[in-house]
Structures are given as structure tokens and as C-alpha cells.
């Protein structure tokens, strides 16, 4: 399989001088076409920063990202992102169908082609009849399906998913995981999915990349040799799955940073680190926004 995504020596630092916060350090990996790669890392390890760099939403301070051989600078045309928070990522003023059509707006397609592609994508995620509804009229799980359909409609070379199932209930989460695996195989999509859930990374992935605590580096790159056809109960019971998830968990725990003594304490630490990362991300966004505006004047 040809390489779809190639990340080489990626670095990202927020701020300058002594106050600088290094979110990503010397990170390299690649994803082959048609592969579903999961990145799993502790909360606040810099996953969101990594994804934003790969998606071209922020320019990394060092290293390079290549999508099918082309250097990424700015958001590539054939890339789609599914965010965790579906309620903030769907356009509330557009119907479901128009939301799904959104990435096709700027493409040279006839109105009919656009509508057909949107309908196909909605069919693929099992939402055939809701095109005319508005997002708020759907349940959370259905809204996230709409986000996935929107990403599929643009037929992206790479689909990036940032904790896509972290905001839905457990039952819906299982449904959406199976849906994603099915759609990925049907459409031969290349997917890079970030999660903090060890089980999810093993269940979904063809490969699991384990990240260290902040600053993010790759600790391990594991092939998941489970059968392609997975089952929420049988697969999770299988010896291979249990071994793999144990391995991932161990790798996460014995990362470079000192292991926390109690679970509670580690939760607090990661929550604080998470908040710091988000604050930094938003600051950065404001900064880059300001910079481009000034450049235009």
C-alpha cells in the first residue's frame, strides 16, 4: 500500500523563550492508504495540537507533514476532520443535508451531484430519511453520524477524527465504532483517529500509535492483528484483544513521565494539562488570525 500521510520530525511549541510550552516533540510516523490508524495518548499529551498540525489548521513550528507526497501548508482540499463536539461542529442554520453538502460548496459540482453525494453519505451512515431536519432535532449519536457523513461526502484522501465518540453514551459509542469500521472498509478510506480510550484504539485500529505524556512523542507503533471483521463482544473477549490492550495500557503508564500514585491524582493532573493545552491552542489560533489579518493590510 502506498503511503498516504507522512509526518517527519514534527515539533510544535506554544509561546517563545522560557514560557514556551512544547506540545509535540520530534514526532514521526506514516499512515498507509486504506489504513485505520489510532493514536492513543494520555489526556493533555498534545493530541489535539498534533491533529491540528496535520490538518493544516495551525502551522507546526518544526518538521513537515506530507499528504500523498504534497507538503501540507494550510488545510488540504482532500482532507476532512470530525471533531469530538458534534453540537459545536454542525452548522445549526443548515439542514442535515445542507450540512453534509457543505464541503462540496466550493467544488465544481452541479447542484444535483452535490445532493446525490450528500444522500449517498447519509445512506452510508444509516441516516437516509433525516436530510430535511435541523441538527438540534436529532439525538447526539445521530448528530455525530451527520458529522461523519459530511466528512465522507467530500471523499477525503485522509479523514482525521479527534475523539469522535467521546461525547456519546456507551451504547451509541459501540454502534458508531462498528459503523466507522464498516464504512472505512466499504470506502477504503484512510483514517487517523485520536482517542484516549485504550480499548477503543485496539478495537478500531489496524494499527495503534501510542503517545507519551506531554510533549507528545511516539512510544510505540503496534500492528493490531485482529480479524478485519470485529464484534463488540467476541473481539473484546478474545485473548489477542486482551493482550494488546494490556500492552497499550502498560506503554501508556510507563511513559517518560513519572507514574502517578493514585488514579485520582493522575486524573487531576491530566485535567489540568488538558485545560492548558486548550488554552494554548486557542491563544495560538487568535495569534495566527491576527498575523494573517495584519499581513493583508
Amino acid at each position: 500500500m502506498p503511503t498516504m500521510l507522512e509526518v517527519t520530525g514534527l515539533n510544535h511549541r506554544y509561546g517563545k523563550g522560557d514560557g514556551a510550552h512544547v506540545a509535540v516533540r520530534e514526532l514521526s510516523f506514516s499512515v498507509d492508504a486504506g489504513e485505520l490508524a489510532c493514536i492513543v495518548g494520555p489526556s493533555g499529551c498534545g493530541k489535539s495540537t498534533l491533529l491540528r498540525c496535520i490538518a493544516g489548521l495551525i502551522p507546526p513550528t518544526g518538521g513537515s507533514v506530507r499528504l500523498h507526497g504534497d507538503e501540507v501548508s494550510g488545510v488540504p482540499d482532500d482532507l476532512a476532520v470530525v471533531f469530538q463536539d458534534y453540537s459545536r461542529s454542525l452548522f445549526p442554520w443548515l439542514t442535515v443535508a445542507r450540512n453534509v453538502e457543505f464541503p462540496l460548496r466550493w467544488r465544481k459540482l452541479s447542484k444535483q451531484e452535490r445532493a446525490e453525494r450528500a444522500q449517498e453519505a447519509l445512506d452510508a451512515v444509516g441516516l437516509s430519511g433525516v436530510g430535511k431536519k435541523f441538527p438540534w432535532q436529532l439525538s447526539g449519536g445521530m448528530q455525530q453520524r451527520v458529522s461523519i457523513a459530511r466528512a465522507l461526502a467530500s471523499k477525503p484522501a485522509l479523514l482525521i477524527m479527534d475523539e469522535p465518540f467521546a461525547s456519546v453514551d456507551a451504547q451509541t459509542r459501540f454502534e458508531l465504532e462498528d459503523l466507522l469500521r464498516r464504512v472505512q472498509r466499504e470506502q477504503q478510506s484512510t483514517i487517523l483517529l485520536v482517542t484516549h480510550d485504550i480499548d477503543e484504539s485496539v478495537y478500531l485500529g489496524d494499527r495503534v500509535l501510542v503517545l507519551s505524556k506531554s510533549p507528545a512523542t511516539i512510544v510505540a507503533d503496534l500492528a493490531v492483528d485482529l480479524p478485519a471483521e470485529r464484534d463488540q463482544i467476541a473481539t473484546r473477549e478474545s485473548a489477542k484483544f486482551v493482550t494488546l490492550r494490556g500492552e497499550v495500557a502498560r506503554l501508556l503508564q510507563t511513559g517518560p513521565a513519572a507514574p502517578a500514585t493514585t488514579e485520582e491524582a493522575s486524573d487531576e493532573v491530566t485535567a489540568a494539562a488538558d485545560a492548558a493545552e486548550w488554552a494554548a491552542t486557542e491563544e495560538e489560533a487568535a495569534e495566527t488570525g491576527g498575523a494573517t489579518k495584519e499581513a493583508r493590510h
Partner: protein
């Protein structure tokens, strides 16, 4: 439909209390004629051409003033809302101008633009610009960064971001501002007609009827008509808003 009946019930109740208070003698009939008299005067006036001319003059001035306010405040709000340094640079002057009561500007406006309809339109615009301006600025500040990222990840360019994300997001906020401004503009038009002695309009009609103090039925009839115009404007805008912003969760729930 049911809410309409409830609204009417409140109104009829109000008229009954008014009628009763006058008949019992709680208020002197000379100064506050009973609603039966006021309403019949209103009906008579509505059949007279000069009065209709006054109503048209007021409504026309209101419509022009609101149109100008929108044309000024929406672009200005978009500009101030999206360019941070411009917003900072204008904050002091905006906060200085905003609290000035429009009525205080009447002498200045009369001198500069004269006593014609331009005067009331200018003052109404001055007062009506603020709600629209502030709601537009506020709306732009409220755009969710995740939504912006989503649009960017969908390949939306910076220039298209304004039309495809910022404007539709801001529209309901701007519309609320317009509704607030519509009421303010009407108040300003009628009071300027009254205070500045315009040659036409409802305010002028009320002023003329009140001189001498014996035509209180006409004064109140003019007031009732002004109130009805305000009610119709607000109700009409509410309907338009419900139709336009059906996608809005709150609006959608309310329309059920």
C-alpha cells in the same frame, strides 16, 4: 390563535377597567374620556384624509429611519466585530455617543438639517443604530471556534468565512437588534414630531389636538393609533423572525 384570544382578553379587560374608572368618577371625564368615546373618535379620524396623511408621514419616516439604521449598523458591526484593533480604537467614542439621549440632540439637528422630516429621521437613526450595532458585534464575538475550524477544514477560505459562517450565525442576533431598534425608531419619530413641532405626523397631530386641553379624545385617539402601529410592527417582525430562523432551536421549539 389561542394566544391571540388571550392577548385580546387582556386588552378588553384594560378597556373595561378604564371605562369603569371614568364612569364611576375616579378620573375626571374632561381629561380622560372613556375608551368608548376615544375609540369612536379613532374610527372617525381614520376616515379623515389629513389624519391618514399624518399616519403615513410617521410610518414612512419610521421605515426610512430603520432602513438607514440597518444600512449603517450592520456593516459597521461586521467591521468592528471582525477587526479587533478597530473595535478597541472606537470603543471610547462609541461609549461616549451611545448614552446621549437623542432628544438632547434636537436643537443641534434642527440647526444642521432643518425642521423637515430629515430631522426626525436623523434622530431616529441616531437612537436606532446602537442595538443593531452592538448585537452584530456581539454575534461575531460569539462564533464558536470549533465551528470556524470545521468550516476551515471543509476548505472554506477566509473571504468566504464571512458569508458562509459569520453572517448566517449573526443573522438572528442582528434581527433581534432590528426588532429593538424598530420600537426605538418609532418612539423617536413620534416624539420628535411632538417636541420639535414638525408640520406633519402623528406626534404633530397629538400636539395640535392637545392645545387648549379640550380635545382629549383626539389626543388619546392619536396615542392609541401610535400604540397600534408599534404593536403591528413588532408582531410583524416577530412573524418574519420565526419564519427566517426556524433552524434556531429556541425558535423551532416555540413554533411547535
Amino acid at each position: 390563535m389561542r394566544s391571540l384570544y388571550r392577548n385580546l382578553a387582556g386588552l378588553i379587560g384594560f378597556f373595561l377597567i378604564w371605562e369603569g374608572a371614568v364612569r364611576v368618577g375616579l378620573v375626571p371625564e374632561l381629561f380622560v374620556p372613556p375608551p368608548s368615546e376615544v375609540l369612536s373618535t379613532t374610527a372617525q379620524l381614520l376616515g379623515q384624509e389629513p389624519f391618514i396623511r399624518d399616519v403615513i408621514a410617521t410610518v414612512l419616516a419610521w421605515a426610512i429611519a430603520l432602513g438607514i439604521s440597518i444600512a449603517i449598523a450592520v456593516p459597521a458591526g461586521l467591521l468592528l466585530g471582525s477587526i479587533a484593533w478597530l473595535r478597541t480604537a472606537t470603543r471610547a467614542i462609541v461609549e461616549f455617543l451611545r448614552p446621549i439621549p437623542s432628544v438632547a440632540l434636537i436643537p443641534l439637528v434642527l440647526l444642521v438639517v432643518g425642521g423637515g422630516p430629515e430631522a426626525k429621521i436623523t434622530l431616529a437613526v441616531y437612537a436606532a443604530v446602537w442595538p443593531i450595532l452592538f448585537n452584530t458585534i456581539y454575534a461575531l464575538a460569539e462564533i464558536d471556534p470549533v465551528l470556524m475550524d470545521t468550516a476551515r477544514a471543509c476548505g472554506t477560505s477566509r473571504a468566504r468565512m464571512l458569508t458562509s459562517v459569520a453572517l448566517p450565525h449573526a443573522a438572528p442576533f442582528v434581527f433581534t437588534g432590528i426588532r429593538m431598534s424598530a420600537a426605538i425608531a418609532l418612539i423617536l419619530v413620534v416624539s420628535t414630531e411632538y417636541v420639535a413641532g414638525a408640520s406633519s405626523g402623528l406626534g404633530n397631530f397629538i400636539l395640535e389636538a392637545s392645545s387648549g386641553g379640550t380635545n382629549m379624545d383626539q389626543v388619546l385617539a392619536g396615542t392609541v393609533v401610535a400604540g397600534v402601529i408599534g404593536y403591528l410592527i413588532n408582531d410583524g417582525l416577530e412573524r418574519v423572525g420565526r419564519r427566517m430562523f426556524r433552524w434556531n432551536e429556541a425558535v423551532g421549539e416555540a413554533a411547535k
